[in-house]
């Protein structure tokens, strides 16, 4: 095959003209579409990113709130327990006081009863002594009889 420069140069000239025409009328719109596509993809990614960070923020907010609620619940629980303990202590204290009072009252009652009994006994003793004296006086007294009488009297007292 022989080289024919005229053919090759004509070929090249035509090619260059074609490229220029295409660059002017075809590549510009195509590049426009490409840019548009790139922008679209970019904006979509940006949207996704911003959406992600938004979700992250919301989640953090919810987490914090949840923690707060947890703390509050714990605090309330502690308070309730403390209250309960206080009430229990109060009830205990009150019970102890009441018991003391009851015991005190019972003791006083007992003391009074004893006192009463003692008084009654004394009265009885006086009566009996008088009765015995009457008996001694009314009867003829000898030493032996006297002793027996007194012994009887003491026994009766002991019995009483």
């Amino acid at each position: 095959m022989e080289l024919d420069w005229k053919l090759i140069l004509t070929h090249m000239l035509g090619f260059v003209i074609t490229v220029v025409i295409l660059a002017k009328f075809a590549w510009r719109p195509i590049l426009g579409i490409l840019d548009e596509r790139r922008e679209k993809i970019k904006s979509e990614f940006d949207q996704i990113e911003s959406g992600k960070s938004e979700i992250e923020e919301t989640k953090a907010g919810y987490d914090a709130k949840l923690k707060d609620i947890d703390n509050l619940a714990r605090q309330k629980l502690t308070e309730a327990v403390n209250d309960g303990q206080k009430v229990a202590a109060e009830i205990k204290e009150q019970g102890r006081d009441e018991a003391k009072e009851i015991i005190f009252k019972a003791k006083a009652e007992t003391d009074r009863e004893v006192e009463k009994a003692r008084a009654a006994l004394k009265e009885d003793m006086v009566k009996m002594t008088i009765a015995a004296a009457e008996k001694i006086i009314s009867k003829k007294l000898d030493e032996q009889e006297n002793r027996r009488l007194i012994k009887d009297f003491i026994d009766s007292v002991e019995k009483a």
């Binding site: 004509t10 000239l13 074609t18 490409l34």
Partner: protein, 283 residues
């Protein structure tokens, strides 16, 4: 006097046209099957001229096909290596082409697209680049040779047969060749159906090859002829001009269009052959 000079130029130009035709006939002899072809010298012709070899330009088809394959591989590697979520201009172009191709094939193959898109996509891009390379100076469109297009279509033929055999299984494959007989009548028609389908399978790749070859060869020859005509036309007015009138300019745009369409047709027909070979394929 002026008139006489003009007439003289015409006579010289006519002689040159005859010379070009003669040259073309000589070149054609080198190319074997395309006896009447007319080619603009490619880079390999320069190689022959400068290194004193005589055979480099015989390998134009192979050489440029390989060169285009290598360029495609480099492009793919560059895009793969530098891939980003937000594409740059180059990645953008490649992605757009791939997306368009994928959607086109998807409309025919549906869920099988992922399996066959590597072959079909490469086929399209390869043929497309080979078609368009005929427009670039110092290049030569490999698809303007029947050898190249036949090689491509035979690849498609074997691929389709392989898909058919593996997806349908040997038994169904044979039944498919017989026209899927179901009743007595259709079984009787197998005698007619089988040769028809059998020959059809071989005609498919042949028609693919002939169509592509005819179109691209025609375009190339047209452009070559127009360039020669431009040179001759210029020499009528200015005999020592270094460059002709670019008469081929409108045909560049035609070739851009037809080269794309032919690549698309080749790919789409291959896709439809694959679709027919698939189990759910309907004729």
């Amino acid at each position: 006097m002026i008139q006489y000079k003009f007439l003289n130029n015409i006579i010289i130009a006519t002689q040159e046209v005859a010379g070009h035709a003669e040259k073309a006939a000589e070149h054609g002899g080198d190319h074997g099957e395309d006896g009447l072809s007319m080619h603009i010298p490619s880079a390999l012709t320069f190689f022959d001229k400068w290194f004193g070899t005589a055979y480099a330009h015989h390998f134009a088809v192979t050489f440029f096909a390989l060169l285009i394959a290598v360029i495609m591989m480099i492009c793919a590697l560059v895009v793969y290596r530098k891939r980003q979520m937000i594409p740059g201009p180059f990645q953008n172009v490649v992605e757009m082409i791939f997306e368009g191709l994928y959607n086109l094939v998807y409309s025919m193959l549906g869920k099988d697209t992922d399996r066959y898109i590597p072959f079909l996509g490469t086929l399209f891009l390869y043929i497309w680049f080979m078609n368009l390379s005929g427009l670039v100076p110092f290049f030569h469109a490999p698809t303007s040779a029947l050898n190249m297009t036949l090689a491509l279509s035979i690849s498609v033929f074997f691929y389709v047969q392989y898909i058919s055999l593996t997806r349908l299984g040997p038994k169904k494959y044979l039944l498919h060749l017989c026209g899927d007989p179901s009743s007595g009548v259709t079984w009787a028609l197998v005698i007619i159906n089988f040769p028809l389908h059998f020959v059809g399978e071989f005609i498919k790749p042949f028609s693919l090859a002939m169509r592509l070859f005819g179109n691209i060869f025609g375009e190339d020859t047209l452009i070559a002829v127009m360039i020669s005509l431009g040179v001759v036309f210029m020499s009528i007015f200015w005999h020592d001009a270094y460059v002709g009138v670019p008469f081929q300019l409108p045909f560049y745009f035609l070739s851009l269009l037809l080269g794309t369409i032919q690549a698309l047709v080749f790919t789409m027909l291959s896709t439809s052959y694959i679709m027919m070979a698939l189990p759910h394929g309907e004729h």
